[in-house]
């Protein structure tokens, strides 16, 4: 009796991260909703969409240890898939004549279109991933870069499907801050559930030591593929949300700049933790806003101080490189944020340990309790080749 109650409460107690992160976002949205500032509103929606995307990115990169440079391609696929479904109902056949007749005649309701876009991107992710996940980590990363370039080339040139390099307009507005918030929270919960599940765990072992993981029976290729498809879904979903937010999309928006910014967000936040993904988006979005204001010019007394255009990008680049050199684990130190904050560092002894000891005594400890704030023991073997 007591065990059951303890079990239920303890599960929640151990897994507070997604709740904390979601609350953080909710608070931000509430503040903005009260403030009634439309430009701030748009910034926050942009931020929330980025959270969806970067969390998706994290699902793959954070768990597998394989860098992907290609996820913006999935975002583009999702965005255009949305456009195919619900854009410009009157003039669809003018913009995208190559679409099948059924699609030209139907306009899918935006919520459904968004989710379907995610699914479509996931499907492409499945096809692409099946091909490239068999490559080594480095080879796979290069392959994802190739995916980015290929999708860019295809979408830029297939004018009858995508209007080529020109902007596609007329996508209905659907994404407001509540929709984006729901999507972001959903992404966070799915990412967390994935990482504490068997699948996430198995994949993480391959991140630490691929050979040992394989020897333990982990099908590394399959696990990477699962994470890749899941992350492609959220990238596509983000694309759909983005299309419904801006109302217009272009191919050029989903290329190297966006790839870099989102990767920087993840890295600076902490590549290997979900909290890192979210914190990274929030902090870098804030930084970008500050730099943007500085570029426009800040009035101090009688003078206007402005930094030259382009400082944003260079500043972001420098920030990311500095983090990699001096604090590779990012802002969050690759730890998950939990409640209470004192459990941020897993310390032997202390309140957390006492609680876990009680748990261990009262029920069998589940494998999922192994994740959530614990630091991995660093690999003992030194890499042979690198000085």
């Amino acid at each position: 009796m007591m065990d059951q109650a303890l079990s239920r409460r303890s599960f929640l107690w151990l897994h507070t991260t997604p709740i904390v992160l979601s609350l953080l976002l909710v608070i931000i949205v509430l503040i903005v909703a009260i403030a009634q500032n439309s430009s701030l509103d748009r910034t926050i929606i942009d931020l929330l969409i980025r959270v969806v995307f970067v969390v998706g990115l994290y699902i793959f990169i954070g768990n597998s240890g394989v860098v992907s440079f290609g996820h913006t391609a999935f975002m583009m696929i999702g965005a255009y898939a949305t456009a195919w479904q619900d854009c410009c109902s009157m003039v669809k056949s003018f913009f995208m004549p190559a679409l099948p007749k059924l699609m030209l005649e139907t306009t899918v309701p935006p919520p459904i279109a968004t989710v379907t876009s995610g699914l479509f991107a996931a499907m492409v992710g499945l096809l692409v991933g099946a091909a490239i996940m068999r490559l080594s980590g480095i080879g796979a990363s290069i392959a994802t870069f190739a995916v980015l370039v290929v999708v860019d080339v295809v979408y830029s040139n297939w004018e009858s499907l995508t209007s080529g390099t020109s902007t596609m307009t007329g996508i209905p507005a659907f994404t407001d801050h509540w929709v984006a918030l729901v999507a972001a929270v959903a992404a966070i919960f799915v990412a967390y559930l994935y990482q504490i599940s068997r699948f996430g765990l198995m994949l993480r072992t391959s991140r630490e030591d691929e050979v040992a993981a394989k020897a333990s029976g982990v099908n590394v290729v399959l696990q990477r593929l699962i994470a890749f498809v899941l992350s492609a879904f959220f990238a596509g979903l983000a694309g759909g949300l983005y299309a419904h937010f801006l109302g217009t999309i272009t191919v050029a928006a989903f290329y190297l700049d966006l790839t870099f910014i989102t990767l920087a967000m993840l890295v600076i936040g902490g590549m290997n933790s979900l909290s890192g993904a979210v914190i990274g988006v929030i902090s870098i979005s804030a930084l970008i806003e500050v730099l943007r204001q500085l570029e426009r010019g800040v009035d101090i007394g009688l003078t206007t101080i402005a930094v030259p255009g382009g400082t944003q990008e260079i500043g972001l680049g420098v920030a990311m490189v500095l983090i990699l050199i001096f604090r590779q684990r990012g802002i969050t130190g690759n730890q998950e944020i939990t409640w209470p904050f004192s459990r941020l560092m897993y310390k032997p002894g202390g309140a957390d340990a006492a609680f876990r000891a009680r748990l261990a005594g009262s029920r069998r400890s589940s494998p999922s309790s192994a994740i959530g704030g614990r630091r991995h023991v660093s690999s003992v073997t030194k890499q042979r080749g690198v000085p």
Partner: protein, 304 residues
């Protein structure tokens, strides 16, 4: 017979460019396990070195007007200096870092360089013509072949020979080959890490500059993203050739050149713009069959 020869020259000249770029990538990867995502921007810099910063569409050519030996030296010098600065500031502190971190760091460096170029030169592509004589056709038998193609092939072969001699005969070359195989052991025998890595970057940057100039002759336009696609092909060439193998990188480069030219000839007119996509599809098929690459070195399994 003629069209076969034309095809061969086309494929070889394109392949030569790819092979040189692949070598530039492969050399640094060999000693440092770094896939240099800034390489595209190294290439881009080689051409931007020729012009003076301005916002106009027509570039003000400065170094670009110098006699060709000086031009090459100056362009290469600028790329080499930037590459060494990057090595010292970013890659040296990260030498022990795992490959994903190195990749992202180099991606960051590339991003910084690219945006610096945009700030200095604006994002507008600029028309620059250097060595216009090379675009004239040279007669070979019945064929009329652009001189540039022949020059590209000759230059590539020449550089390949020089590189082979360097790696086989010179002390630096032997140290580099040893370091590529087992850096720690090489250091335990007194091989200086900084020297080897510096040499690799210098050669890599030099190749980037050469590739850049050849590319510029071909397209006549300087733009801030001109190196990106070439860098990607260089990466792919090293992957299909077998990472860690310089021979593989060269083979991979020429293989992609041949496949690309083949597709250019075979593909129907309306899908020609997607040629690159088809090339990559072909590459993926190759990799599915042989994930470790075409040329297998005995150390290949440990490497990647």
């Amino acid at each position: 017979m003629n069209s076969a020869l034309q095809f061969l020259i086309d494929a070889l000249s394109v392949g030569s460019l790819y092979a040189l770029a692949a070598l530039g990538v492969g050399l640094v990867f060999g000693v440092l396990r770094l896939v240099n995502f800034a390489y595209g921007d190294f290439i881009t810099m080689g051409s931007y070195a020729l012009i003076v910063p301005s916002a106009s569409i027509t570039a003000i050519v400065f170094i670009g007007n110098w006699p060709w030996p000086l031009l090459i030296i100056a362009s290469a010098a600028i790329v080499v200096i930037v590459a060494l600065v990057c090595e010292y500031l970013v890659f040296r502190p990260l030498r022990q870092a795992p490959p994903p971190v190195l990749m992202i760091a180099s991606f960051g460096v590339g991003y910084i360089i690219q945006n610096a170029i945009i700030i200095i030169y604006t994002a507008r592509p600029k028309a620059v013509g250097i060595w216009p004589g090379l675009t004239e056709a040279v007669a070979i038998g019945d064929l009329r072949v652009p001189g540039l193609q022949l020059v590209t092939i000759v230059v590539a072969l020449g550089l390949l020979v020089l590189l082979v001699l360097f790696l086989k005969k010179s002390p630096f070359g032997v140290q580099m080959r040893a370091a590529a195989e087992d850096f720690q052991m090489a250091r335990m025998l007194g091989v200086r890490a900084n020297t080897v890595i510096g040499t690799a970057f210098i050669i890599s940057a030099f190749l980037a500059a050469i590739v850049s100039l050849l590319l510029l002759c071909q397209v006549g336009v300087i733009s801030f993203h001109m190196g990106t696609q070439l860098m990607l092909i260089a990466f792919i060439a090293t992957v299909i050739g077998g990472m860690g193998s310089l021979v593989g990188a060269v083979v991979g480069g020429y293989a992609i050149g041949i496949v690309g030219t083949l597709l250019q000839v075979l593909l129907p007119e309306n899908v020609r713009t997607f040629r690159d996509a088809f090339v990559f599809a072909a590459v993926i098929i190759i990799l599915l069959a042989r994930p470790q690459g075409l040329v297998i070195t005995r150390a290949a399994r440990e490497r990647v």
